[in-house]
Point group: C4
Chain length 302, copies 4
């Protein structure tokens, strides 16, 4: 029968760390492969601080290069440059003129006074305008990445329903005020055999695979009865097998018209046995339903 | 059996208001949760007036800060500033120079006359251009949000078809001229038990779950025969149970290549008993079909 | 049984024109409904010539307004304005200064020489920058609309396959070089009863409902055998019933990562009886397959 | 029975080259069809070098045209132009003034000194700003095209599993660090009859049609047992029939919120008989799984 490996591997020479971190990233290092030449992706994904840092450095380098070009042409071609003339002062004057051209400020107290300077400054004006067109596109690309954030309860619980059936449960809520709809979930369990180090996977069907809206919370419930791959296992068994519960959520963010995918996992130490979740929503005096996101993790012993 | 709660809650300590408002928003207040740090989403969602207000204030604050920096540097570094020099006049002169640099206007009657002023104005030129790039991205982000508007009839009707079978009906049309296609609907009923305050849900299947196009109107029909959760209930029963008919529409806007989701609900007081909808479309003299959106709500007694 | 009306209406007081035009638009007029206030959609959808016309007019009006404001302030506040001073010359001078500020050109031969002029020109610089941010967003919004173009054969044919079974066929190809994939089709027939004017619909299943790629042509085939709603009907029958074959195609444009929907219809006069399509593709000397889009419509008698 | 032709043709007058190249493009030439008038698509798809080349040429042509217009108006209308005046020097001076207006630099050492020059430069300022807005939109359009890159193993293998069953296998990995999820595959085989040149297709079902994530590698396996269209065929048979294994992958790029489609094919010479793939992933000392993309193609004899 075909493996249920969701794509994260089956044969390792030793035990691996958890497959999926709480922020949804995979614990995978990548080596080799052809060079990818993807400056756009790099600039889109890097943190904001680093982005503005790289932009500033590029700005200085480009303008420094043009400044050197103006100096090579000869600063007498830029009437109005500051006196006295030493190399460093000339460079600064050329640099400021370059910035004023590159950014289209163009005060005019320094201006191109020859055909050579006219040509070079015209080229720089074009380069400057295109560079800022690029920057605009990059900034928008950074904004428009999907931003839906789904909160998962810090722990999953092994609970017991009123009729006595045991179940594995965890809870999700939408961190933001945007409207998430048509949320569906898939849950797998990953076991690692302590002896062979081989990894196996099994599906954990949920009582409800989807929910129409997520304005409040959604508790995902897997029945631990006889049909479950986890049936009859104790907390010690979970730990011995490096049990990892892997969750994939998929939904639609109606505010920004984007698909939303979210991943998380619970390892053996993140499962609270014989607890249940406290309800995290109720109704205010005025009849408006109220959800308390701080209560998402709240559990109590059975 | 798993609950059909679409995600809007089952156990409340008192009766709640309607779950979904006519504009599709949920009657839910959100508290707690980790801070979200999402200035982009805030700027995209706020009303236009507030957006331009915040942009103007930010513009003034940034330029005010640079003005103070120029003053700290010393206005003698900006030849051409207006006389006489008092603190307020100096500030205004520095402010105007700052704006002329920030927006790249750069008249030049006032200009940086020292290395310090050159450096500060170069920095300001860069900040100004990046801020403009940001504003462009924000403006486009505000535009490109999904804008499809689906009109729902103000009321739903309990009607009777020619063959005597009772049905619950409501009607939708596209408010705009853009083309909506592949529209599908899901309808649920939400009951609140007057004694326990518990909420329950049941599906209301439609005779047609979808329609290919929506250039005219679409009347959604639920058969109130023996299989229906509403079978045999009177208007008083609907009211006693806080009955809410919850509708989710999903379609595709072919003009703007966007998915479209729309929600609405009808509470007991919004159901017209023993009425039917008047046809809202017909054909003009020239053979072109015509839809009258003002007639969307038009009903008549049976 | 629920009607198969795809959404284009069933009860009209007289015969209607064709429901769908060859460019995929619907023959529907819309009246009434709440006002829609959607300048963005209007600006995005209008033809290019009209768009640039409206932009130019808005540009003139805004700058004209600022020009009048500068004149109201008094042109002595703008040192450098041209002489002689008459109302019209003053207006032109103020207008040119306004444009130079609005577009950030800012030559500087005319400049704000008082606090009032400084404030007004600073405001204009901000308005100008925001207006061009808006224009950038609008231009991109106009570009990024879905642009896939599917060509339909000008006629559909009633043909006979080698084994004698009659079939209704028409053909599609991709007008552009972008890659269309996962193309699927739905076909309906619309009849109008000559006496009652009522419209009815029936599905016309295809031998193949979808194709993986569309680099060449795709001939859609409906079997006219005993199961077909068109079985046994002659050309005269088609005309008597105002027969309209309505086609909806759906696919994915892999070059621009967009969904593609296309609609067309064939009325009775656009069906060629007892013809077949000539093959519109073959292979060149070098083994590369070649499709000739001019041959898309090519039919020959059986 | 309806053909399984995925859309790449069945009747050719001679043998064709492979249908799909390794970069996913089709070996198809397109002729004829109505003119498409799609400058946007052309500018978006062309290589970067050519794009910047065309932008620069357009920039020179537009500014050259405005330069000629200023000369026709008479350069005495632009006080400050350089001396001496000959045609070529006049043209250069007008050109530099044009660029300074077009790019909004506007130094001001040359400025419009008459109403005619004011009007012409105002028009040029508007044209310049709109052109910049267009360029920004084009640059963003170029960036935002789907960029996911899926690596396919250079060869497919005919292998034998431990239990003796033969299988056809090939392998994929994600070239980039972005997260690909819900990847599904469809595989067909295309045969060409040596005598008739007719082409036929058959589906090659996989043991697993999809995988949830692709952080490591995914080996796609087709069982060559009795049910397979390739059952019992030898390498010589594959070559005789111009066998081409056509693969379509579809997934979702979670980093950029885009659908991903990828195509590839393996011809007879690209199949390694009685080899198997070496595992390309393992675990590092620290327990982090590691994938080596350089090992994607690594096979070894059985």
């Amino acid at each position: 029968m075909a493996s249920l490996d969701p794509g994260i591997g089956e044969k390792f020479s030793q035990r691996t760390q958890r497959a999926i971190n709480h922020d949804g990233t995979f614990n995978v290092r990548r080596r080799g492969g052809p060079p990818t030449h993807d400056p756009y992706q790099r600039l889109i994904l890097m943190p904001w601080g680093r982005f503005f840092g790289e932009v500033s450095v590029l700005f200085l380098l480009l303008n420094g290069a043009f400044a050197l070009a103006y100096m090579a042409l000869g600063l007498e071609n830029l009437p109005g440059v500051a006196a006295p003339h030493g190399w460093w002062q000339d460079f600064l004057s050329a640099l400021f003129f370059s910035v004023q051209t590159f950014t289209s400020v163009g005060y005019g107290h320094v201006y191109p006074g020859s055909n050579g300077a006219g040509a070079l400054s015209s080229l720089e004006a074009l380069v400057g305008v295109l560079t800022f067109a690029l920057a605009t596109g990059l900034l928008y690309g950074r904004f428009s990445r999907p931003t839906a954030r789904i909160l998962f309860s810090r722990v999953a619980v092994v609970s017991r329903r009123p009729d006595g059936t045991p179940s594995l449960q965890f809870r999700v809520a939408n961190r933001r005020a945007n409207i998430l709809i048509e949320l569906s979930a898939q849950v797998l369990v990953k076991f690692t055999d302590a002896a062979t180090k081989n990894v196996s996977y099994a599906a954990l069907p949920l009582e409800r695979e989807s929910v129409s809206f997520l304005p409040l919370t959604w508790t995902l419930v897997h029945d631990l009865g006889p049909g479950s791959p986890l049936h009859g296992l104790s907390a010690a068994d979970y730990a011995a097998r490096d049990t990892e519960i892997i969750v994939t959520l998929k939904g639609y963010d109606d505010t920004f018209a984007q698909n939303v995918y979210s991943r998380n996992s619970y390892v053996a130490s993140e499962i609270a046995w014989y607890h249940r979740f406290r309800q995290a929503y109720n109704v205010g005096e005025d009849g408006i339903a109220e959800v308390d996101l701080d209560a998402l993790d709240a559990t109590e012993p059975l």
